[in-house]
Symmetry: D3
Subunit: 336 residues, 6 copies
């Protein structure tokens, strides 16, 4: 139904290039007065590959109001070099016909193929042998509303995997980790790990809004993805009971809810329960491992300063990151 976004994406634009009716998402806009009294527009233009600051000199109130914040816009102008960064100088703008493009095509997005990731997830979940758990997982896998959201949601607003498909990518990573690690610990239930990983962040599908922007929904802020996930599991268990005409095993439901509730590992990170089973502890550490590694890789990928061996400070890691591959291995740090 929608056109594809322009072939040339922000990541590829070079200083000096002309922009001829290029489509961007307007992430931000402001009308400013220059010191000589004239008005100019300061904006942030974005697509799925990044964002750039833009300026339009000699603007007017009318032009300003015609620009849809959070919406799409045709831009004519050029790419400039400003303090070593690229910047867009806008000469003119033009409305985008509604329905021409899908705004989601202009949000940051996983570099991987979403359908392929989803197939991997389903394949890994097929490893669950416990009948009731498998049925419960099936209720989610076969719920088209859940699946649509699950494929699209970012894993976070900004900490890690903060892009469309990020939740799916992070979940796939964890399932793969569990597949590799569970067999090493005979006392850990692989089935429970797989089901819990699949659902541990399911609440994010509802906690976050990601149709045109990444932000928390009101319900997300009032209730939180951890409890939202538990409520979702609760509802699916009730549905299963209704369909099957027999109770869903209570211990299994409790154990699974516990895994979701405890996966942040500490009260101060918003978990209302601390891990009290081997699976809860494993989920917590594998989740952290993948999330923190993603932060490292993203910090290195976002870093463009060739003069330093260190990225800038990454708050969630309480450290700057050392960029070189100490062993000089080829390809070490360069791609996500």
């Amino acid at each position: 139904m929608n056109d594809k976004p322009p072939a040339k994406r922000i990541v590829d634009l070079r200083a000096g290039e002309r922009l001829d009716d290029h489509v961007f998402r307007v992430a931000q806009k402001e009308l400013r007065t220059a010191t000589n009294g004239s008005l100019f527009i300061h904006a942030v233009l974005a697509d799925s590959t990044g964002q750039l600051v833009a300026r339009m000199w000699q603007a007017s109130q009318e032009i300003y109001q015609s620009i849809p914040e959070g919406g799409l816009l045709h831009v004519r102008g050029r790419v400039d070099n400003y303090k070593g960064s690229r910047q867009i100088i806008i000469d003119g703008v033009r409305q985008v016909e509604p329905g021409t493009y899908n705004p989601a095509d202009f949000l940051p997005s996983t570099k991987l193929d979403v359908e392929d990731l989803w197939e991997q997830v389903k394949e890994l979940l097929r490893g669950i042998k416990h009948r009731d758990l498998l049925a419960l997982v099936g209720k989610f896998v076969n719920d088209p509303i859940f699946v649509a959201g699950f494929k699209q949601a970012p894993a976070a607003v900004q900490m890690h995997h903060a892009y469309l498909g990020g939740l799916l990518e992070h979940t796939r990573n964890l399932l793969r980790l569990a597949e590799a690690v569970c067999p090493l610990y005979a006392q850990v239930s692989c089935d429970l790990m797989l089901a819990a990983i699949f659902l541990h962040d399911a609440g994010k599908v509802r906690e976050l809004a990601y149709a045109t922007n990444f932000e928390y929904t009101s319900e997300g802020q009032l209730v939180g993805h951890i409890v939202q996930g538990v409520l979702w599991i609760h509802d699916k268990c009730r549905e299963l009971e209704h369909e099957a005409g027999r109770p869903f095993p209570h211990e299994v439901e409790m154990a699974l809810k516990h895994l979701v509730l405890a996966h942040h590992g500490k009260y101060e990170f918003g978990s209302p329960r601390l891990p009290a089973t081997a699976e809860a502890i494993m989920l917590h550490y594998l989740d952290n491992l993948d999330a923190k590694l993603a932060m490292v890789f993203e910090a290195i990928a976002d870093d463009t300063d060739l003069t330093s061996e260190w990225t800038s400070y990454v708050r969630a890691l309480e450290s700057r990151i050392y960029k070189p591959n100490a062993l000089g291995e080829p390809g070490g740090r360069s791609s996500r």
Copy 2:
């Protein structure tokens, strides 16, 4: 169906008294070997008014095994004075016929009348004007299983109001506080406060076991009373929708769940959300006010050391408590 517990309760026993077939709950028992090689039994005997250490010299393995831990027992013996405290010396024991007494009559229990408290709670809840909230509260008030547990449950295993009826007493106190305080803040919704207070600790009905002893249920430890309460509200909302054939208002449900989730006020106290509405903040502080005052009153009531103006250290208050009424007001500190 059951006999009443003996007229003379632990609180009234005096050193020197004879015990002739007195009934107690056995809170603890241990078989110990004396240094001369003979066996003796060390036990803790309890009823609703308190507990005492007891010893039976010259015991045998058979006598020991005949004593039901957590159950009731006829005791013959005397009350002794040991290091300034009363202690029971057991001469003989006899089984209690099952069904003769209600074990709950031997658990610590509120000094107030439970039915009277429950009437007060219902009366205060009748003040709710919002139709849907009132209906939701009604689903709980008219659920006999909930009500039976709600009247019986302690408010905690040991922190404050840790006695049968404690949850009811604490809830009644909070409702009375809200009735007095809400009118002083026009922007706070009285209806939401009353409903939230009623349900904020409802999960404790399931988190705790209190039939013959006070302890956490497995579900209580895995899921926690905060989330258990939210799940219970969730189920009742779904029931109402099913009965009424129309959706329960989403904002009301979210706001109420938020109040329950946030009422501990801080992540480190197990709340997965921080208070984000005026009502959530008010609930948190009123809850703390009543709980902490109860700790003060209980610390003073439990303190029997007449030589000091201070109780022993109360861990949850990070302080010892000063017992005198500084103004010399009559009756100041003496009763609960």
Copy 3:
């Protein structure tokens, strides 16, 4: 002695309006050089209802120096719209004749009637029955210097009730709370609560300067309002002893000092003592309740973003605030 401030206040100014010799308080001023080399003045103009950024193009060093920072100024110009906010463009300025206006009329100020609040406070304090406490309270009520400061002081520099009369309003709120809550706890001394609430922040009268600006005095920073309040109570007790020729009851003085010292509730909030009496605990929670509710109401009142259901992040509450009244009650969140 002073003229009234202009009828039209900042809260009422609209973009497009002309300002003809309007009087403002100059909260800030800076002389800046434009990129074309010319000078301009950037200032913040304020009155009791708010503040606005202002700019004067083509300024000179002389004009800049004629503007009194922290003082009053006649301004000629217009109100502009800049990035969605109002901004004043100054065409000319003129000195204000000293003594024409009261600078305090241009500081943020309680919306309530100060004299009425003060009468309420005195009326509530008349409820104290203990003779010595009443006499002590009377020493403050009848001290014109204390009363003048107490009516004027803000409750804080910026956290809550940070406006002239804020301390009085906060104290009135707490006294009303105590009047409602004390009767529910027979073991709490109402007299001690009323006296302690009246004096708990009395030190702020000296800790803060609020004649033309809100800031800490040097003594306020070196000694702090908690200890300043205790020293003030100490001095008044000595005065009373001197007048009465008999000692002020030691227990009462200690208990009152303890309440002031412990009312922040935790060492890390600057209390050198932790609450060790029922009254100290009640004071701490009521104080927090009123202060935190004020932060919620102020955050909502200050919020002008109609596109979000949430205020921006409120640091002292560690949360954004949810603005809607979930029950749809009329008037719910709209007024202070």
Copy 4:
């Protein structure tokens, strides 16, 4: 007026020795029932050099009641070896004639000469050149009640210098440190340091009771030595003003109060203010230096385990202490 305590002190008693009417302070007593039904007394006997556990077999209620807890007692019996520790077996006890001994002679006490320490303190204070500070210090030095308490008070109930004269010894140490260190920092006021050191813990004279035992007074717990010290300084300043007919310099009084209030260095250690002057910072670190070194020396002196190079865990230092002098210097760790 009083007899001297017995020549042989606890520190010198050896297992196997007979005790013939030896005088001890009874630090604790308990009447216990042996498993064979007979009564025995368990007590802790103390003098200024230490304390020992004592037992009296075949005791009676009458003997037990004749023993004054916290008072003095003639003891007949022997010193035994019990699990590698000395223990007293009591054969008989006899009342001590009131007034025969000074109970304080049986409390732990500084090993140094109190009068000599006091002379050193006064000599060091004579170095103050600022007229008003010197006058203020003089008000304390010439207050016999203060001086009597100051010479006697321990510096703490148990952390460091917890013995009679401990406050004096600690204060002398700090004055000597200031005398050595101040000259190295030209911007630090020696006069202010000396006065502040002298008075920083003066409140302990009132915070603690130490006539027959070490414990907090009720005022000490309600108000605390930090604020008690400030109130004492406040009173002495007012006295000085009254005598001199002119105000005590406000800045000096504020600076001194600040030093006392801030000397614990952090809110969580009970200081209501954080150090905001060079002197406040120096006082905090010198105070810590002497206190923590005293803990190290006391931990080593109290340690009698020759088989380990480490003392047991010292909670306030969060560590065990390494006992050897690494350099093999003579006398290194052996004496206090």
Copy 5:
């Protein structure tokens, strides 16, 4: 050279059994006086499978002194049931001829085969492709003193894997984890992970003493295993340089030292550096995963209370552990 320890180990002893010249390690001994005045010995006897309390009535000073604390002893007596636990009643003791047994055979020990574990470790390390890293690892693998200690050392004094061979077992687990997990993250250097895992706790070989007991060496307490490990790596690099006549690559040495220094992940856990590379983060989480899972398994294995679904509180996990396998999988929780 040494006899084998007795076939019947503590884990297999049953109440009622006779002990006829059974050999134990004496973990603790105390001489106590019974209330009837007679002496008895209280001891803790241990072997590699556990430990039991033992009592010898009617003991003498001579017998007591003949028992070697930390050494081995022949014991004659019986196993009793005391408060539901087994206890040894000693009738007689006899010296063990020096050299008859290896004391280490009586310390708690891994259930796995040490030589087999060591072969696995070496096999996994052969996967390292980087020449210098492989050479460095070889310096350790071929150092007989290191290898002897590495095979014997526990991983901790009491937290997890606190048994002989525990360090080896924990290291093998981590190497296996790395082998499974590294391939999932292309940007992580497998070689660096393998080398760092092998050496991350190498300092424990020197930090701990484990010949006859588990405790910290003085150097262990003064320097700590983290820095001891780094110093060891430092020395081996210097050796390699000396042998090879060329510098060890500086980046590799720094990266490896960083991994060891940062592997505790947080300053408060004793790491002087925070993880700043992907490998450092992975090492930290894998190390935690294996250590925390071991605590769970050990808590369940040590738990003998069949009446509760929960272990007692595990301090390092801040929780009790839920014992059942929720899915009812066979063998789930039962073996280590």
Copy 6:
């Protein structure tokens, strides 16, 4: 070899002055576009006495690229007054001939004479009597590479003594403190204190880069100055052993390493060990005393706001600093 920097330093420049070919270090540079489309350069120019913002209007890409960031530059222009601060308006720039000046002459630098400080340090170290410690210290004193760095290194990148020679000045201060304080505590080893002070921050010589700028080296960030210092001591001990043909005393080496490792005093400040000897505690507090006093003096020296008695907030002290000398002593706060 190098010219001296210009006689007139930044600290002496006055608004209105002409700059005629003045030499500065370029601390920062940016090319900016003015709102009228023209380019201008924004730079920060510095010398050893301070730094100033500078602007060059009508700049070009060519001029911009000719300016060496971190290097030296001849500047022609004038000093302007901008918002009450001085600012440089650049008219023209000219390259500095390499080798003409020493870039270090343009970094902030101690006000004291470096050679004189070094002589003081050596003199104080001569007080060490222990032969091996003295030999070890000698290895550093006679290592020209160490000495060159030690004389030049700042004590920190920005906290305190953050200027060339700062490490030397801080070390001299600590040695002088130890010389004054050690004799007051007979149980503290003066020799160990002197050696440990000299070497406690030696690792900073390698942790920091300070040739043309102050920043962390990669090794500094990966390993940290604490462990770098310990490794340096380790190497020098090995050298000594090699030269002397006998082992360096193990206890002395451990004690010294412990002092370096523990001198930050707490895990959260990056010490992997907590102080466990009297010397370790003394080192920690003296180090803090000098560092924190330096922060106070530097905050006052940097403060130019004559209208306030308080400096702005000093983050590391968690407070603003009170500037007046309360006693009115001459010269009190004015010079470093």
